[in-house]
């Protein structure tokens, strides 16, 4: 944790005025400003703030790029089409075989949207005018890897605007708490591409207040999310088969039946995940050891074998790195069931990690929580636990 001790400090002006100033600065400082546009609510705010600042600086039309991830809501497509039709927006619509996580399946943990080899399975045809090949793109790149090339070096210094907000997760909060000045601007990728998060301090209410006050158009998928009971903070347009959205996969079936008909055959495991993603089969909720397995450690090893290479190796490496993290913190062996009070680790946790096939380590934050909880339960302070590590008599 860099610059620990920095805390949120509120100022007098509101987030809209602050963001206006940030966008204006970006248009003055960078050769090219481009909005990474997902069709979601946050990038809608960015697009409109960019339109305002670009107009004020004589830099219309606003450049934007959209990664079309194939299995996307019809409302998103309609909305992005409306944006593309605007005279003051120059939108690059990208339909490239980007690598995506498929958390539905053990045997096929990735899928590639618009994969030419799977054309008969595509959820929809490629929209007219979309970019379907690029000299800088090769199949298997991820969106973060490929994005800096959409507006390449020939555009000079490029500011890449994203609608990332600190409210969304601890990880995102940490990413803007590094320093006091220009905390929302990152260093250059590849020497010229500067990611920026100029609406980092916006709340979800702010994000909806802006279109409310200004009458902006927006993605109608959100109206549907509301109808099916999604809480405001959980409404996201994102690829459907990844770790986090998996629990809501069934929503596609009730919201977009025609799309779902295609999705269910698009990636292996989709139908199974739609039915069971919120159950133990997908590592959701409290796990119990299956009959005949005597320990979480054994279960962990047994499940690992179920993955084909190279994924088995990747997950094994993930497990090894988490175990190393434990060893760096304590000399205690990894407990079976209850979390270690310093590392938060247990074989039960590792078994869950293996079951999810979590190669990104998205659940790691839970370790800290588990450690803190266990520490409180055992009645130790952090200092006492650290002292035990150096006290020969309490070492294992």
């Amino acid at each position: 944790m860099k610059a620990a001790g920095l805390v949120k400090t509120w100022s007098e002006r509101d987030v809209y005025a602050a963001a206006q100033e940030r966008f204006d600065m970006l248009y003055k400082r960078f050769d090219t400003v481009v909005v990474s546009f997902s069709g979601g609510k946050d990038s809608t705010v960015c697009l409109h703030l960019a339109l305002e600042a670009a107009a004020a600086n004589g830099k219309l039309p606003v450049s934007a790029y959209f990664w079309d991830e194939e299995a996307i809501h019809p409302e998103t497509i309609e909305y992005v089409e409306r944006v593309r039709a605007r005279d003051d927006v120059k939108l690059t619509w990208l339909c490239l075989p980007v690598k995506h996580r498929n958390a539905c399946s053990r045997t096929t943990p990735y899928w590639y949207c618009w994969d030419p080899e799977q054309k008969p399975l595509w959820c929809r045809p490629i929209p007219q005018g979309a970019v379907t090949s690029a000299h800088w793109f090769r199949k298997g790149m991820t969106i973060p890897e490929a994005s800096p090339y959409v507006y390449g070096r020939q555009y000079g210094t490029v500011c890449d605007i994203r609608g990332i907000r600190a409210d969304e997760s601890l990880r995102r909060l940490m990413s803007v708490m590094n320093r006091m000045e220009e905390n929302w601007l990152q260093g250059a990728r590849l020497g010229y591409n500067y990611p920026a998060s100029p609406i980092y301090d916006w709340s979800v209410v702010d994000v909806w207040t802006a279109p409310m006050q200004h009458g902006w158009d927006y993605n109608r998928a959100y109206d549907l999310f509301y109808k099916v009971g999604v809480p405001f903070n959980d409404m996201r347009v994102c690829p459907p088969f990844g770790e986090e959205p998996l629990g809501a996969l069934y929503r596609y079936a009730i919201c977009w039946p025609e799309l779902w008909d295609k999705m269910v055959r698009r990636v292996p495991g989709a139908a199974t995940a739609a039915r069971y993603s919120r159950t133990k089969l997908y590592g959701f909720g409290d796990q119990t050891l299956p009959e005949g397995v005597t320990s979480w450690r054994e279960w962990c090893q047994r499940m690992l074998v179920l993955y084909p290479e190279p994924y088995r190796g990747l997950i094994a490496a993930k497990v090894a790195s988490v175990i190393q993290m434990h060893k760096n913190k304590t000399a205690r062996p990894i407990p079976e069931d209850t979390a270690d009070p310093l590392s938060g680790l247990s074989w039960r946790f590792l078994a869950n990690l293996v079951q999810r096939g979590d190669m990104k380590g998205r659940r790691q934050g839970k370790l800290n929580d588990a450690a803190l909880k266990q520490m409180a339960q055992q009645g130790f302070t952090l200092a006492q636990l650290h002292a035990m590590e150096h006290d020969v008599s309490t070492r294992y």
Binding site: G5, K8, S11, M180, V205, W208, T209, L224, V228, P257
Partner: protein, 181 residues
């Protein structure tokens, strides 16, 4: 389904071989549950099932093995003991018996439960909105469709997200700063 037969289809008039042509009325005490049914019906849906049978009557028979072990219809059979049902049907339930081995009776149970669709949310919203426009009381919709207020109000809302979520003013800007001492 079309009501008129297609020109190519054979002219079949005898349907007596079909299970539904052999429905018999059996007293519920003669039926017994199977020991494997994985289907669980939560209380709101069980209430709705009762509403459904009371409103429409018996529209589908319970499927059993020859010895009256239930293959499909366990929850309807349970509800047949409800006093309101007893009053109407005297504890009798419509039954069709089919001959199945133990494996296929399990398969049949699961198929009866799984081979069904899911309601699209927009068509549901449209129906609910139409009912309200036609002057049906919300209470009647809640009862008739087995919904909570929450579901009905979400389905029926015509207001968009900006109006729903963006009614407050903007919050204040914040930046990372030193902890005040």
């Amino acid at each position: 389904m079309t009501s008129a037969p297609a020109t190519e289809s054979p002219q079949i008039t005898d349907f007596s071989f079909q299970p539904v042509s052999r429905v018999e009325w059996v007293h519920r005490s003669e039926l017994k549950a199977n020991d494997y049914n994985p289907n669980h019906v939560a209380p709101p849906e069980l209430d709705l099932l009762l509403v459904s049978i009371l409103a429409d009557g018996w529209t589908q028979p319970i499927v059993t093995l020859p010895d009256l072990t239930i293959v499909d219809g366990f929850h309807r059979w349970t509800l047949a003991g409800d006093p309101r049902m007893e009053a109407l049907y005297g504890g009798f339930v419509p039954v069709v018996r089919i001959q199945l081995d133990p494996v296929h009776s399990r398969m049949s149970t699961i198929r009866h439960n799984r081979a069904r669709g899911i309601h699209g949310i927009l068509p549901m919203a449209k129906i609910v909105t139409q009912m309200i426009q036609e002057g049906i009381a919300p209470e009647a919709i809640l009862e008739g469709l087995g919904m909570e207020d929450e579901e009905l109000s979400r389905l029926a809302t015509q207001v968009g997200m900006p109006e729903l979520a963006g009614t407050m003013g903007f919050t204040k800007e914040w930046t990372p700063g030193k902890k005040p001492v």
